[in-house]
């Protein structure tokens, strides 16, 4: 009697497990076919004029943030930055970064709005990332965005200059920033 009940329960479980496995396989096959069809028939809109949907935007952005976190652990940042580093960093920022990332009261270059994902204004980037994380973003760039890996053409000291300026940026007023730009290049005006 007990043995028969046990056999019945075991058979029921096998049946359920089989159905579950078949369900998982079916979902996998359908998912794989949909994924391949998306690639093969151009179903995902890669034009930059249509921003990513919410799911893609979320997935890309959080993949980026978590990748940077994972890869910045062994970067030892300096305990602080000197005024000379901030000044050098501003100079480099004006030359390399401002066209895509703007500044207090200053827009990005006009053509930058045509990029997707849209390069962010970085006024408060130092509040969103640690110095080590900013260093990794600058050195290694960001895949599937327009952010280059500056480590290829800039020295480590120069990379830290960028970080020094980004750390100072939240405390620079639009008027101060305008004065710094004017001092660097008197011809430079708002776009």
């Amino acid at each position: 009697m007990l043995a028969a009940a046990r056999a019945y329960v075991a058979a029921r479980w096998r049946g359920l497990a089989g159905a579950f496995a078949a369900g998982v396989a079916a979902v996998g096959v359908v998912g794989g076919v949909l994924g391949l069809a998306t690639v093969a028939f151009g179903l995902y809109d890669t034009t930059a004029t249509n921003p990513h949907g919410r799911v893609a935007a979320w997935a890309l952005h959080h993949t980026f943030i978590n990748s940077v976190r994972r890869r910045s652990g062994d970067v030892a940042g300096p305990p602080g930055f000197t005024a000379a580093q901030v000044a050098a960093g501003f100079d480099q920022y004006a030359a390399d970064c401002a066209m895509c990332h703007g500044g207090p009261g200053v827009d990005r270059a006009r053509w930058v709005r045509q990029l997707e994902p849209s390069p962010p204004f970085v006024i408060d980037s130092a509040r969103q990332f640690t110095p080590a994380q900013l260093f990794v973003i600058l050195r290694d760039g960001v895949k599937m965005s327009a952010m280059p890996a500056w480590g290829e053409t800039r020295t480590t000291a120069e990379l830290w200059n960028y970080v020094a300026f980004l750390e100072a940026l939240p405390r620079i007023s639009p008027a101060e920033y305008a004065a710094m730009r004017h001092a660097r290049d008197p011809a430079e005006r708002e776009h």
Binding site: A57, W58, G105, V106, Q114, E116, P120, F121, S173, H191
Partner: protein, 126 residues
């Protein structure tokens, strides 16, 4: 005894009451449509607005440089000193440096139409 018909009959004014409650919502300006809100949402994303502003319902719009744009359709002031009307909002979006010289929000070279679309989108933020 309470039968099903009685219950339904007693609930029948409910939709009407709900509709009245929705109409009676206070402090909700009903602006004329100033532009195309769907286009405005795209422009808002492409102009990078979310790197300085929290925008409800927009992924990655988490900036804390300027004020969050939550409840924008019910905001009283734009730029801290202009009443939040469509013409004022459109002007602020289009030329923030002319409206409040030296503030941190840049002129982005938007056309009148783009600024109106963005304003229409902001007015969908209840």
């Amino acid at each position: 005894m309470l039968d099903g018909t009685a219950v339904i009959r007693s609930l029948s004014p409910l939709p009407l009451l709900l509709a009245l409650a929705a109409c009676a919502q206070p402090d909700r300006p009903h602006w004329p449509v100033v532009g195309d809100a769907a286009s405005g949402r795209v422009w808002t994303e492409r102009m990078g607005c979310g790197s300085c502003h929290i925008i409800p319902g927009m992924e990655n719009a988490t900036g804390l440089v300027g004020p969050p744009l939550i409840h924008f359709s019910r905001r009283t002031m734009v730029a801290g000193y202009l009443p939040n009307t469509p013409p004022n909002l459109v002007r602020w979006i289009k030329e923030p440096q002319a409206v409040a010289p030296g503030n941190a929000m840049p002129n982005a070279g938007l056309s009148e139409g783009q600024a109106r679309d963005i304003a229409a989108y902001l007015y969908t933020l209840d």
